[in-house]
């Protein structure tokens, strides 16, 4: 029997980026806020310090900052004809755990989506005709526009101290920035990172082909910076230990560095760690959330009553909570009915490696998570899709994130997998390979979705989340086209030969790492029959329940999601403060 605790105004489930933002903003608005985090508290000092933090075996190979799959995982299958099996090891993506969530172990690549990304279906239908989009794609508009989100993108970028170069300031094109981006109200708060040698080779080749390279927007600091809350951040040392690691230098934006200290010093906010939320509780009518049920470290069960419930866990687990709590109608791919779990999307990654002579030393061990040179000429609808005939695109980039010793050993195909031949090839190529990456979009498809597994349960007795996914044909065509363009650039970079690798050339495999950009399942929109939350991320079914994270993306764009997740969180929390608190009812009429 769960022990009933003292009611609070707001309970937050998960304390990553969105949890921290909601804690800070709602505690400041005078509400009594409790943040529940399944993991532990950890912080720059003393937990993240080098050289212990540079333990690649512990953090990159053995997933030191990721969730415990022995307690909770998901099952996977490529299509509905298969029987899903549980993932007992990480592979394709790496959901984090502990305070700060994936905001601790991310790279810091921080993008805005294009204005046309937010109106995807109407944009393509108007421009290329109503039948242009493949019939089996369930892509749709977001219900929110770029112009509405712009001030919140700007705020999140200032909170994170993003370094970059504007390409479009209030409609005026800026040299050196991304000419395709939506208009920005202000320049980035910090200058771009110092370009590396490989990035410079990419830039030169791209410019020679008439393309528009620009520095990747980065949450790795480029100078001493104080954010709007007063958080002091320090410049990045280019140590190359960002992704899968925490930053020891106060140099990578994270909830701990940028936001949480300002929530924690507010007496209205209480953080409870080792608190695993298993269910959202509803009233008898099922139209109002009354709080959440959680289990603490000792296995004791608690009911935390609250007036407002905000799901701030990793996107996949927000969808899982909705499903196990019976909120909203689960999606059925056979009929196309239902919404929860619908429009799961991912990212369509590919790359072209350039192999150089041994006298070209790239020294990519001097890197940073978001150190990169990018071009957007083949992203979104920045190019004519009439000929190619698919939806979407992706950015093409040369990223130098750190050539770490255990996992980074690029060798040409045909190299022996082990032994003296392999060692010779690693020694020959380690410092002489540059990879041009394609960060492709992911179109929502009627057969790709999240649901509850009929067979397997987690440590708390709940059915596991089941993922059904394969690359839609649209994305296979898109990825081949984008990779062709990347190959053209790669061949102009002065190497001896190139090799390409396209994930969508074969069936999606969940065992090989691709990217931790899982989206959808609790998508936003203007129509309750086609979305789980409205444009303010408020549940259509339960008005005092809000859902954050990339699970609200109707489909995924050709960018990293965190910038948009942060912008949506600020947009949503503003609507709560300025509209919902006064009326406590649906902010959009169904």
């Amino acid at each position: 029997m769960a022990q009933r605790l003292k009611p609070v105004d707001v309970v937050l489930v998960g304390m990553g980026w969105t949890g921290a933002i909601f804690a800070k903003e709602l505690a400041e608005a005078g509400l009594r806020v409790v943040g529940l985090e399944r993991g532990v508290f950890h912080d720059t000092v003393p937990d993240w310090q080098a050289p212990a933090m540079h333990d690649e075996l512990k953090y990159a190979v053995r997933w030191g900052l990721m969730q415990d799959l022995a307690r909770e995982t998901l099952t996977f299958r490529n299509d509905a004809a298969q029987t899903a099996l549980p993932m007992r090891q990480f592979g394709s993506f790496l959901p984090g755990t502990d305070v700060g969530g994936a905001g601790v172990h991310w790279n810091g690549q921080t993008y805005r989506f294009l204005p046309s990304d937010f109106v995807l279906r109407s944009h393509y239908s108007e421009k290329y005709g109503r039948n242009f989009i493949d019939a089996d794609l369930t892509v749709q508009d977001w219900g929110v526009t770029y112009d509405e989100l712009e001030p919140f993108y700007d705020l999140f970028e200032r909170v994170c101290g993003i370094g970059g170069r504007a390409g479009n300031l209030k409609g005026r094109r800026q040299p050196g920035g991304n000419p395709f981006e939506g208009p920005r109200s202000a320049e980035y708060p910090n200058p771009p990172m110092t370009q590396d040698f490989a990035g410079a080779l990419f830039q030169k080749a791209a410019a020679s082909l008439g393309l528009n390279p620009f520095p990747q927007p980065s949450a790795n600091m480029t100078r001493h910076y104080t954010n709007p809350y007063g958080a002091q951040m320090k410049p990045c040392m280019y140590c190359g230990y960002c992704e899968r690691f925490a930053c020891e230098h106060f140099a990578k934006a994270s909830p701990q560095v940028c936001v949480l200290p300002f929530a924690m010093k507010n007496p209205n906010f209480e953080l409870r760690t080792r608190a695993h939320v298993n269910r959202v509780l509803l009233d008898a009518g099922g139209k109002r959330a009354t709080g959440v049920l959680y289990v603490d470290e000792g296995g004791r069960e608690f009911e935390q009553p609250a007036e407002i419930v905000v799901l701030c866990a990793y996107g996949l687990w927000n969808v899982h909570l909705l499903l196990v709590s019976g909120i909203g109608q689960p999606y059925d791919p056979a009929t196309g009915e239902g919404v929860v779990g619908r429009n799961y999307a991912y990212q369509t990654m590919s790359s072209v490696s350039v192999f150089y002579d041994s006298d070209t030393r790239l020294n990519q061990f001097m890197g940073a998570g978001a150190l990169g040179t990018v071009l957007d000429d083949y992203n979104g609808d920045n190019f004519d899709h009439g000929g190619p005939g698919f939806v979407g695109g992706g950015y093409i980039a040369l990223n130098t994130t750190g050539a770490r010793p255990i996992l980074y050993h690029p060798v040409p195909s045909g190299t022996p997998r082990w032994g003296a031949g392999w060692k010779r090839a690693v020694a020959r190529h380690y410092n002489h390979v540059a990879a041009v990456g394609c960060h492709g979009s992911s179109a929502a498809h009627r057969g790709n979705y999240l649901s509850l597994d009929p067979t397997y349960t987690d440590a708390y007795g709940r059915p596991l989340l089941r993922l059904t996914f394969d690359f839609p044909d649209n994305d296979r065509r898109m990825s081949r086209y984008i990779t062709d363009q990347a190959e053209r650039i790669a061949k102009a970079m002065g190497g001896r030969f190139t090799e390409r690798s396209v994930a969508a050339d074969s069936t999606y495999t969940i065992t090989a790492y691709q990217t931790t950009h899982n989206t959808g399942g609790a998508i936003m929109g203007n129509d309750p029959r086609l979305s789980v939350v409205n444009k303010y991320l408020q549940s259509w079914d339960v008005a005092n329940l809000f859902v954050q994270g990339a699970c609200v993306f109707p489909q995924n764009a050709g960018y990293n999601p965190t910038g948009t997740v942060g912008a949506l969180a600020y947009w949503s929390v503003k609507a709560i403060k300025e509209q919902f608190l006064a009326r406590r009812e649906p902010l959009v009429q169904a």
């Binding site: 771009p192 110092t194 370009q195 040698f197 830039q203």
Partner: protein
């Protein structure tokens, strides 16, 4: 009485006398050549047979062509030995050994750091910065200004290759060493400072090419440098990290961390 200390004091006095003469010579030379700071040779063409050094972060705008921005570092220890012994352009007055020792053992008096086994690029960069004014020093700047770029490389290569014995300082108070060790290994939560070892390597053993070792350096030298960073009298850190660290640490923390590193044996490379 510690004979080692007495010897150091004698060497220091000798050095000061030498330097006083040298200073006058240098000043005259500067006036003659109209050089304010930094007599620099033309940049060396890129030579990829050697390890490229890190280009200073602020020197090149990011989206310029950086495909040729990496500068090679190459020094000759034999040629460096001549410079160290006073046969360089800075002359006898610019000899390194009277203060830093023939083997780079330094001087426990504090003004003259141990140089043996320091990364060559780091030593070369300091000589350049003594000359260009970002690390102004009454003794070193006039000497460094006189040296050619190649002499700086060679002298740096000499001391980087040198090996010198280490004599541990007298034991300090355990609680003070413990505070210093904590800052070194995990930083200071109250002061918002990251661990020293993050950049300076495990045990303060240095991370070549551009981060010096701290282990076995003298207490007085380490404390002095932290004070210089703190007072912005030393500014040759391209990202301003040391200034930030030194500004945040309390005087007690600075003293403790200096004593901790001074008690460790320097790295054996």
């Amino acid at each position: 009485m510690n004979p080692h200390r007495g010897g150091s004091r004698d060497r220091a006095l000798l050095a000061l006398a030498v330097v006083a003469v040298a200073g006058a010579v240098v000043l005259a030379a500067m006036v003659r050549e109209g050089v304010a700071a930094g007599a620099t040779d033309p940049p060396t063409p890129s030579d990829r047979r050697t390890t490229p050094a890190v280009a200073p972060a602020a020197a090149v705008a990011p989206m310029e062509d950086r495909t040729t921005a990496f500068v090679a570092f190459e020094g000759d220890p034999r040629a460096g030995q001549r410079v160290v012994m006073g046969a360089g352009r800075a002359g006898v007055g610019g000899a390194c050994f009277p203060c830093h020792g023939v083997q780079g053992e330094g001087d426990s008096g504090g003004a003259f750091p141990r140089l043996a086994g320091q990364p060559a690029f780091y030593l070369y960069k300091q000589l350049t910065n003594y000359a260009d004014g970002t690390r102004p020093n009454a003794i070193m700047s006039p000497i460094a200004v006189q040296m050619t770029q190649q002499e700086r490389r060679d002298a740096a290569a000499y001391y980087s290759a040198a090996r010198a014995a280490f004599r541990a300082p007298p034991a300090d108070a355990p609680n003070r060493l413990q505070l210093g060790a904590g800052i070194a290994a995990v930083g200071s939560r109250t002061s918002g400072v990251q661990a020293c070892t993050g950049c300076h390597g495990p045990g303060g053993s240095g991370v070549p090419p551009d981060v010096p070792y701290l282990a076995g350096q003298s207490v007085a030298y380490l404390e002095l440098q932290l004070r210089l960073w703190h007072e912005a009298r030393r500014t040759n850190d391209p990202l301003g990290v040391m200034a930030d660290v030194a500004r945040r640490l309390t005087p007690e923390e600075r003293a403790s961390v200096a004593r901790y590193f001074a008690a460790l044996a320097p790295p054996q490379r």
